[in-house]
């Protein structure tokens, strides 16, 4: 059951979206997220939908793969929709007991649901079409200007890529410890929430100890291989812009301009 957790899930393919420079994809995702909170009305909605559909189609990632990501936020989605539905003031359409549904509420609930699910769908394209390594490389390079103000950009991206590498190892370890504790009579499944949370302690303590030990070993191995921070480091796979990346930037700029114009005019 614990193996179902997927973080940094990559869907291998050779689509144009996969081959784009990760910096372009990061920029694109950022623009897209901004546009989700900028668009207004049905025309804006149509533009955003068209943009998302085009990218999904180009990425060649099956749509059902992305919808899986929505399940994780189903609860949040439901709560947001409820709040919007019942708590927006206005002319009531239906009213049951103390709860009333207004037209404005219906509208804002609808748009909120669309915004949230588009947010998840759009950003999942980024993680599905970019390997974790490319992603951290892209982040390191696009955030480089922030080094001037003392943000440890290289270190953070190194931490992220190491974390990604150790997720499966730690999951396996959790599984092992869980089985070892089950074999000795531990009970993770029954009882109320507090009881179950307490049952996690004998799982977490050994896991933490082992993670610290691994971190210590890894630090030593990195030092032994001359790791000395980001200064003077070269790259095996340096990021280089190609023609298609320029085109992609233009398209992103065009899309964003379109959304803004729609907002201004409508």
């Amino acid at each position: 059951m614990i193996r179902d957790i997927t973080i940094g899930q990559y869907y291998p393919s050779n689509s144009i979206i996969h081959r784009l420079d990760p910096r372009v994809k990061l920029m694109g995702t950022l623009t897209y997220v901004l546009s989700l909170f900028l668009f207004r009305g049905l025309a804006g909605f149509a533009a955003v939908t068209a943009g998302l559909a085009a990218v999904v189609k180009l990425s060649k990632v099956p749509f059902r793969y992305m919808v899986k990501g929505l399940k994780a936020i189903a609860a949040i989605l439901a709560i947001t929709v409820m709040f919007n539905l019942f708590l927006t003031p206005g002319e009531p359409l239906v009213s049951v007991w103390k709860l009333k549904i207004t037209e404005e509420g219906l509208k804002s609930a609808g748009f909120m649901a669309v915004r949230l699910s588009y947010l998840i769908l759009g950003s999942s394209v980024l993680t599905l079409a970019t390997t974790p390594n490319q992603l951290t490389d892209g982040m390191e390079k696009s955030l480089r200007p922030f080094r001037r103000i003392g943000v440890p950009v290289h270190e953070v991206s190194m931490i992220m890529s190491i974390a990604l590498r150790f997720i499966p190892i730690l999951i396996e370890e959790t599984d092992k410890i869980m089985k070892a504790q089950l074999a000795r009579g531990a009970d993770f499944e029954s009882g109320n929430l507090i009881k179950r949370a307490k049952a996690m302690v004998p799982l977490l303590v050994p896991l933490f100890i082992s993670a610290f030990r691994r971190a210590n070993d890894l630090a030593m191995a990195m030092e032994a291989r001359c790791y000395n921070g980001g200064e003077g480091r070269t790259k095996m796979k340096p990021l280089k812009y190609k023609g298609r990346d320029g085109v992609a930037y233009l398209l992103i700029a065009g899309y964003f301009a379109g959304i803004i114009m729609l907002r201004v005019w409508m």
């Binding site: 390997t131 974790p132 390594n133 890529s161 190491i162 990604l164 590498r165 499966p168 190892i169 691994r214 070993d217 890894l218 030593m220 191995a221 990195m222 030092e223 032994a224 291989r225 001359c226 790791y227 000395n228 003077g232 480091r233 070269t234 790259k235 095996m236 796979k237 340096p238």
Partner: protein, 296 residues
């Protein structure tokens, strides 16, 4: 000139109580003298807590001496200026294969060392290919390390060290967490590097079977070097080895037992082949395959 030269090397660990006051001192290395020539295959044997891992960490300057001197490639390890130079020239492979692989793709992990020392991109690709080939892992270059076996992971770790083109490679119990077939894979790769590329190898282990091919063996106990010599010289002193809690290989033990029982067998038998030849000579069964005599 010796590649590694240690004179009266001492390392002390301080045990501290909760306030940071020194509670006691453990001497992990006690007056260790070493002399290792370039291109040698040297094994360091010792039981748990004998100080052999501490010694390994000194060779890569992960630890510094509390006393005495250690020169690696003619450079004093206490001199701060030589730190990265020494680390580049004496690569280190650790016990746990999972805890020393940094990247999520085999070839990117091998590139980690060269990246750190600022090798240009084109040359990194060449080095990665060469070192993966030298350990026979080239076909796995695009794989995730998580999907490899223990022996394969350890070979990737060796390739990662080789990509920095060191003159010497120190392996700190590289086979302790592997199954027998993985153990053989790793040892074969290490022996090939020593033979074909002339890399100085220092293998730290507590499996005696692994040291029979070495040029020189050091035996450590309680932080001191207690025996040194060729494998044959070392293995002929069975009783002494046992006193250091080391398991002598089965064949050597059998030969030793037979000798004690009065048979005319030379000391320090290392392989089954050797023992069966000696036995055949004793009983005059010429023409018969010596292997059959022993197994049949």
């Amino acid at each position: 000139m010796n590649f590694i030269e240690a004179r009266k090397l001492v390392h002390e660990y301080f045990r501290r109580d909760e306030e940071g006051n020194v509670e006691g001192i453990t001497t992990a290395l006690d007056q260790v003298d070493l002399g290792i020539k370039p291109g040698e295959f040297v094994a360091v044997l010792g039981h748990n807590g004998s100080g052999k891992s501490t010694l390994a960490k000194h060779l890569n300057v992960l630890l510094r001496a509390s006393g005495g001197t250690l020169w690696v490639d003619g450079k004093d390890t206490l001199d701060e200026n030589y730190l990265w130079d020494i680390r580049q020239n004496t690569g280190m492979v650790f016990q746990n294969p999972d805890n020393q692989i940094i990247a999520g793709v085999v070839e990117e992990d091998v590139a980690f060392g060269p990246e750190n020392i600022g090798i240009p991109t084109d040359e990194i690709w060449e080095r990665v290919e060469r070192s993966l080939k030298s350990v026979g892992m080239l076909q796995y270059r695009g794989h995730s390390p998580n999907k490899l076996s223990g022996g394969q992971k350890q070979r990737v770790a060796i390739a990662g060290v080789m990509a920095m083109e060191p003159k010497c490679i120190v392996l700190d119990e590289p086979t302790a967490m592997l199954d027998p077939s993985g153990r053989k894979e790793v040892l074969d790769a290490v022996e090939a590097l020593n033979r074909e590329k002339g890399v100085t190898v220092i293998l730290i282990t507590h499996y005696m079977e692994e040291v029979t091919g070495a040029d020189k063996v050091y035996v450590m106990d309680h932080g001191r070097v207690v025996m040194q010599g060729t494998p044959r010289q070392i293995f002929s002193r069975v009783e002494e080895l046992k006193s250091y809690r080391l398991d002598v290989p089965q064949v050597t033990l059998l030969a030793h037992g037979l000798k004690k029982a009065g048979l005319d067998i030379p000391a320090g038998i290392l392989t089954r082949q050797e023992l069966s030849e000696v036995l055949c000579r004793l009983y005059g069964e010429e023409g018969k395959n010596p292997e059959d005599t022993l197994t049949g």
